[in-house]
């Protein structure tokens, strides 16, 4: 009998092409990357159990569970608001599933979304302009500062969007992260490439999410 052999690939690997995309006659004003190697746990507080869930979060991760659209940096994880009484716990690949299971036992329902979502990073001085064409939210820094998050739709696709720390590079520009259902990732990626083509996009090699 032949043993099937499976090679794990990332959701975008079929179409992912690191290098330049769009106009190439100038420096790229936009950077995009697929981030891999993360674990993502959806934590949904059970009815009437938000307070203990929040308390458990403080004990296990050293930060309150975000109760409004925000992304909070915590111990070994990023806590991302995803809806009323719901958060995502995003961690580098490791033992985060077991950690979440122990932290929230009995008070919240957990769902492993590590392979269910694709994580994208969008940065550069034109990141906001590119997103403005496809996202109906106001991403002006006064309204959407670092640490702001949103559950919204881009190109009819549900996404979780948040703004991380500004780029440490020489441009110091805003950095946005997008979580999208893996099966919608190719479609969204094409839309984002089209939207950003006029600015020149540097597509970085897919790298593990570092937190």
């Amino acid at each position: 009998m032949v043993e099937p052999s499976w090679t794990a690939t990332t959701p975008l690997s079929r179409i992912y092409a690191p290098g330049r995309h769009g106009v190439k006659n100038d420096a790229a004003r936009l950077s995009m990357a697929e981030l891999t190697g993360f674990e993502l746990v959806q934590v949904m507080a059970r009815r009437g159990m938000w307070s203990p869930t929040d308390q458990a979060c403080r004990e296990a991760y050293g930060q309150a569970a975000p109760a409004k659209p925000q992304a909070t940096r915590a111990e070994g994880a990023l806590l991302i608001w995803s809806g009323p009484d719901q958060i995502f716990v995003l961690s580098p690949r490791g033992s985060s599933l077991e950690r979440a299971r122990l932290a929230f036992a009995g008070m919240a329902s957990l769902s492993d979304q590590s392979d269910g979502r694709t994580l994208l990073r969008i940065s550069g001085i034109k990141a906001r302009d590119m997103l403005a064409k496809v996202c109906s939210l106001d991403l002006h820094p006064a309204v959407f500062p670092a640490g702001a998050a949103a559950a919204t739709s881009i190109d009819h696709t549900s996404v979780n969007l948040w703004r991380g720390e500004d780029s440490a590079g020489d441009d110091g520009a805003a950095v946005f992260y997008l979580l999208v259902f893996s099966t919608f990732a190719e479609s969204l990626w094409h839309t984002l490439l089209d939207s950003g083509a006029e600015y020149g996009i540097a597509i970085d090699a897919a790298t593990p999410w570092q937190g």
Binding site: R47, W50, P84, Q86, T152
Partner: protein, 91 residues
């Protein structure tokens, strides 16, 4: 038309799905055939203020109860529907 989601803030209506009249309540098991028929099929055709259920599927996935004027599309109030947000609303 925009709907101010109590969890997310104002959003365009393409993020929402419309269910319809928020008034009908599922009849009890002994209510009889007429009550079930009314619950399933009969709807008021309101010209004016109406309580409606909307689903924020393109966002936080919460059910909302929206009071809307069906003539002017003015939104009068938006609140979480019963059960939206496990802790915030009791059904």
């Amino acid at each position: 038309m925009r709907i101010a989601c109590p969890f997310c803030g104002p959003r365009e209506n393409s993020e929402f799905s419309y269910l319809g009249d928020a008034k009908p309540k599922r009849p009890g098991p002994d209510a009889g055939e007429d009550a079930v028929y009314e619950y399933v099929y009969l709807r008021d055709n309101v010209a004016g203020e109406m309580a409606e259920l909307w689903y924020h599927g393109g966002g936080c996935r919460a059910w909302l109860q929206v009071r809307r004027n069906t003539v002017t599309h003015e939104i009068l109030s938006v609140e979480p529907a019963a059960g939206a947000g496990a802790a915030s609303v009791t059904p």
